[in-house]
């Protein structure tokens, strides 16, 4: 783990008023998604307006964290000095049961096991106080 809080290039989220609830929930091992209060469409990542009905009213629902593998890439090249994870690492794109996607690092899944449609779940990696990132695990 190249987790070096002193590295000025470290890639960290900078939450806004629109996105703070997402990151606060991560700290509690919960994945939350915005749901439109008017038409009930669930959306990700957080944003101010529902693209279906244009309502700006929403609440947050707790996601099931269950999904299936949609796509992936395995990164070998050191693109950035502030990378959170050691190379190589696999980034997985997951179709969640709620109808939205999430991209996160694979945890405990061999690259040779990766297959579109395989069941996966969202887990949580506590990197340091104030930073928890989602990871993708076997169910």
């Amino acid at each position: 783990m190249s987790e070096t809080p002193e590295n000025p290039d470290r890639l960290v989220p900078e939450p806004t008023a629109d996105t703070k609830p997402f990151w606060a929930a991560m700290e509690e091992d919960r994945l939350v998604l915005q749901r439109c209060l008017s038409c009930k469409k669930i959306r990700n990542y957080p944003r101010p307006v529902c693209d279906a009905c244009h309502s700006m009213e929403y609440d947050w629902i707790e996601a099931s964290c269950k999904g299936t593998l949609h796509s992936w890439t395995i990164t070998h090249h050191p693109f950035h000095s502030g990378l959170t994870y050691q190379l190589p690492f696999a980034l997985l794109t997951v179709d969640l049961e709620e109808g939205v996607r999430l991209q996160a690092k694979a945890q405990g899944i061999e690259n040779s096991e990766l297959k579109v449609g395989m069941p996966v779940k969202v887990g949580f990696e506590h990197l340091h106080p104030g930073l928890t990132l989602p990871v993708i695990e076997k169910p």
Partner: protein, 382 residues
């Protein structure tokens, strides 16, 4: 009202393409722009509209350096590598409206010698969302962001790395015959397959160059264009297209479809041209896969059939559709596709280094900013 044949390309220019320079992007952009203006037989003070690429030289630099007394229009089209071709649509609209007679498109960059392109991405507003939600997990650079599109295509349609290699190899064959191209060493499929993995499924030789240099294009009103130094290249069809979920690839319902899929039918309809009439295509090639995906999105083959389509030298001179006859971003230089407009113009004037015989109609595409697309269909002067 349509923009069909509302303007023509009248001048093109470049600097030498390099990997290593101490010159500034502004200096490079000025040199290429002066070359393009001279190519058209114009004076710098004839330019009354400007669409700079947006990074590097800005409108103020051109006013200052060229002594422009009364610039009537300036804009930028912030679509990454889709910007240069999208700028053609913007230029045509202001020419058709009578605002300008000669619009200059210009791009100068130090992609090799300057700051790493990947580091700048997070600061740009169109990347705000992935900056917060995907970059912390390590998805930072274009090869990674686009690799998930390619992997999905591989898994859904059986596309292979060897098929992507065909694109890299054919493009290199063109570059070797073009003295302006940076990469002059021959490449085989095996060379591609042996190149190191960058972000699976992209190998090093699937990725474009980082280059220093500049390229520029002059677009003129059609009634004036016919009396200038070179035969005009007339723009028949033009369009830009924005994909669903333009800022976040991973939230796009179908990640194997780009914004070009929306733009291409509009451009072909405006031009009144069939696919079989396209003699040469300069297709934005930041990565091999992006070429294949655009060929599908333009309708040269069905979605999923791009792999077989590009096999057996189909994109070479004498192939079914000659593509990136200058060597593209993969092997000539990464000028964000401005060099693709320069090359199509040369093809349709009959003055290209690697000339498609009797090329009459051709197209050029742009791609950038996670999926934006643009396309121009052009013909040579009658």
């Amino acid at each position: 009202m349509s923009l069909r044949e509302a303007a023509a390309i009248t001048g093109v220019g470049e600097t030498k393409y390099m990997r290593g320079t101490d010159r500034t992007p502004v200096s490079l952009a000025m040199e290429a722009s002066l070359n393009a203006i001279a190519d058209a037989g114009l004076k710098p003070t004839d330019i009354d509209g400007l669409i700079p690429y947006g990074m590097g030289a800005v409108a103020e630099d051109f006013i200052t350096n060229f002594g422009l007394p009364d610039l009537r229009f300036s804009a930028t089209t912030p679509m990454g590598g889709a910007s240069p071709v999208a700028s053609i649509q913007c230029a045509m609209a202001v020419i058709k409206a009578g605002l300008c007679k000669h619009v200059l498109l210009s791009l100068g960059r130090t992609g090799y010698s300057g700051g790493r392109i990947g580091n700048r991405v997070r600061q740009m507003p169109q990347f705000r969302t992935i900056g917060e939600f995907e970059m912390p997990s390590g998805a930072i650079a274009p090869p990674q962001l686009y690799a998930v599109m390619a992997r999905r295509h591989f898994e859904m349609y059986g596309t292979t790395s060897r098929q992507l290699a065909e694109i890299a190899v054919t493009t290199r064959q063109h570059a070797i015959m073009n003295p302006r191209a940076t990469m002059q060493r021959p490449m085989t499929i095996e060379d591609h397959q042996a190149s190191r993995m960058i972000s699976d499924p992209f190998r090093l030789l699937d990725c474009s160059l980082e280059s220093d240099g500049a390229a520029a294009v002059v677009i003129s009103a059609p009634d004036i264009a016919k009396d200038l130094r070179k035969k005009p290249v007339v723009v028949m069809g033009i369009a830009e297209g924005h994909p669903d979920s333009p800022s976040v690839i991973t939230q796009r319902p179908d990640i194997t479809t780009l914004g070009l899929a929306k733009a291409a039918p509009r451009a072909f309809e405006m031009a009144g041209v069939r696919h079989s009439e396209i003699d040469v295509a300069e297709v934005y090639d930041c990565f091999t896969y992006i070429v294949m995906c655009q060929l599908e999105d333009m309708g040269f083959c069905k979605k999923g059939e791009g792999g077989p389509f590009v096999e057996n030298g189909a994109l070479g001179i004498g192939g079914r559709l000659p593509v990136n006859t200058h060597g593209g971003l993969l092997s000539e230089a990464h000028m964000a596709g401005m060099n693709h407009i320069v090359e199509l113009t040369r093809q349709l004037r009959g003055e290209a280094a690697v000339q498609v015989k009797d090329a009459e109609i051709g197209l050029v595409t742009g791609y950038g900013d996670l999926g934006d697309g643009s396309i121009a269909i052009m013909r040579r002067a009658a």
